[in-house]
């Protein structure tokens, strides 16, 4: 994989995540918004080598953790490194297991795997936050605005929204494959 291309794509995805994503969240649906970084996670998991995909997804998760602060009641914000890093790696491992069974360049495959991957990521992220919410801290850190179940449902909505967006954006990413320099020792005719 060409890491400069990865870094540029990461920069764009993070900027879209923090700038554009929240504006695309319809108030009528509880403010669910798509995740551009998750699309990149799925793309890398589908086409990069195993080692490159894991490291790249881990790095994306760390950067996402540094972009999503948690608020402390009556105090400032804190950045917790780990939830998204672990979640993205878990999602990557899941996709790595499934990618040999699917037609990777099909946009519907991309969309379906995006939905599945985001669900996996959400379980890990919310799970870590739930564990942390048990800590006897003062001031208490607020990890989500509602309950854990409500947060999971919110993220299911985000997964669905991102899966819909994965159709056009997945198509674009697949068209950009030559730029990435992915090495695949097994060239499948179905590509």
């Amino acid at each position: 994989m060409r890491w400069p291309v990865f870094l540029i794509s990461t920069y764009i995805a993070l900027a879209l995540e923090t700038g554009l994503s929240s504006r695309l969240g319809p108030q009528t649906l509880g403010g669910v918004s798509p995740s551009f970084v998750a699309l990149l996670v799925v793309f890398l998991s589908l086409f990069a080598t195993r080692a490159a995909a894991l490291w790249a997804c881990w790095l994306l998760g760390v950067l996402m953790d540094l972009s999503a602060p948690s608020s402390q009641a009556g105090a400032g914000a804190v950045f917790i490194i780990g939830p998204y890093a672990l979640g993205y790696v878990f999602g990557c491992v899941l996709i790595l297991q499934l990618r040999a069974l699917v037609f990777r360049k099909r946009v519907l495959t991309f969309a379906l795997l995006t939905f599945v991957c985001m669900l996996a990521i959400s379980v890990v992220v919310v799970g870590v936050y739930v564990i942390r919410s048990w800590y006897p801290e003062d001031p208490q850190t607020i990890y989500f605005e509602g309950s854990a179940l409500g947060e999971l449902m919110h993220r299911v909505g985000m997964a669905a929204y991102t899966a819909v967006l994965a159709v056009p954006l997945g198509w674009l990413l697949v068209r950009s494959l030559p730029l990435w320099g992915f090495y695949s020792p097994h060239q499948h005719r179905t590509w």
Partner: protein, 307 residues
Amino acid sequence: MERMGVFRSFARSQIAFPVALAVTLVLALLPTSWLGWTSAPAELLGFIVQPLSAIGDTAGTWIRRGTLSRTVPEETPEASRWREEAQRFQQLYRAEQLRVQELEEQLEQLQLIPIEQLNVQVNRFHARVVASHPTSPGGTVTLRGGERVGVTPGAIAVYGGVHLLGRVIEVSAFSCRLRPITSRATRAIRAVVLPADQPGGSMSDAPAISLQPRGDGAFIADAETIWALAEGDIVCLADPAWPQSAQGMLIGLVESLKVKDSEPLRNEIVIRPRHLLSNLNSVVLIVEQESDTGRVASGSDPEGGGS
């Protein structure tokens, strides 16, 4: 060079990723008090990403077709200006009423207040939203404008001059982080309820309530049924934990009332702000200046206890 070679060998070894994953797991479970160091790399990352995220924010706002909440009907610019000016004077009047009430209480205790402390000098800054929380619609937002332009922690953010949006919790050199008033991390807020047809009514006679963020952009509060509150009533800030310049500002409107099953003489009311930070791409920050005596003119630490 030799160290780089050792590092590269380690990075390519099979043990590197499991080690990284183990370290990440430990970091994920560390107590929050041990994670203060993460704000530095987060700030650096935000500084790098902000130029492009600001463009994305602008594009997103254009896609959403405007910066006003859908509850605000279409009106001409002049009508909008007059409406904002009228609301502004109403807010000033309410703030003055609260100040008079405070003075009367202090005079009763035979305390003298220096006249200088009654005049609150403020600076106003127009601040653009450059980044939002990626997953939480009620999460903190990053605004362009920091210490270099005079923003300080505790500054309030308003829209239309009177609609209270939130409070600055962290300030860096070029940006600041704003917590929405509707965030669950915001402590209980004291407010008063004014009739919808009397927005300039007496603050001292108005029913006082305590607002709790519900986590979905609205507040809940308890109210006595005898107060005869109605949908559409105006809820204004009356909390000494907030700066003087914020007193009397609009928090929202009463959206619904429901008699509590466990307490039939009390209603559970839902208050919803007219303007949400998530719908806006710019706000006005109000920073109170220190008085000549060297003390902050009013207001306590950000998010100080409101009870």
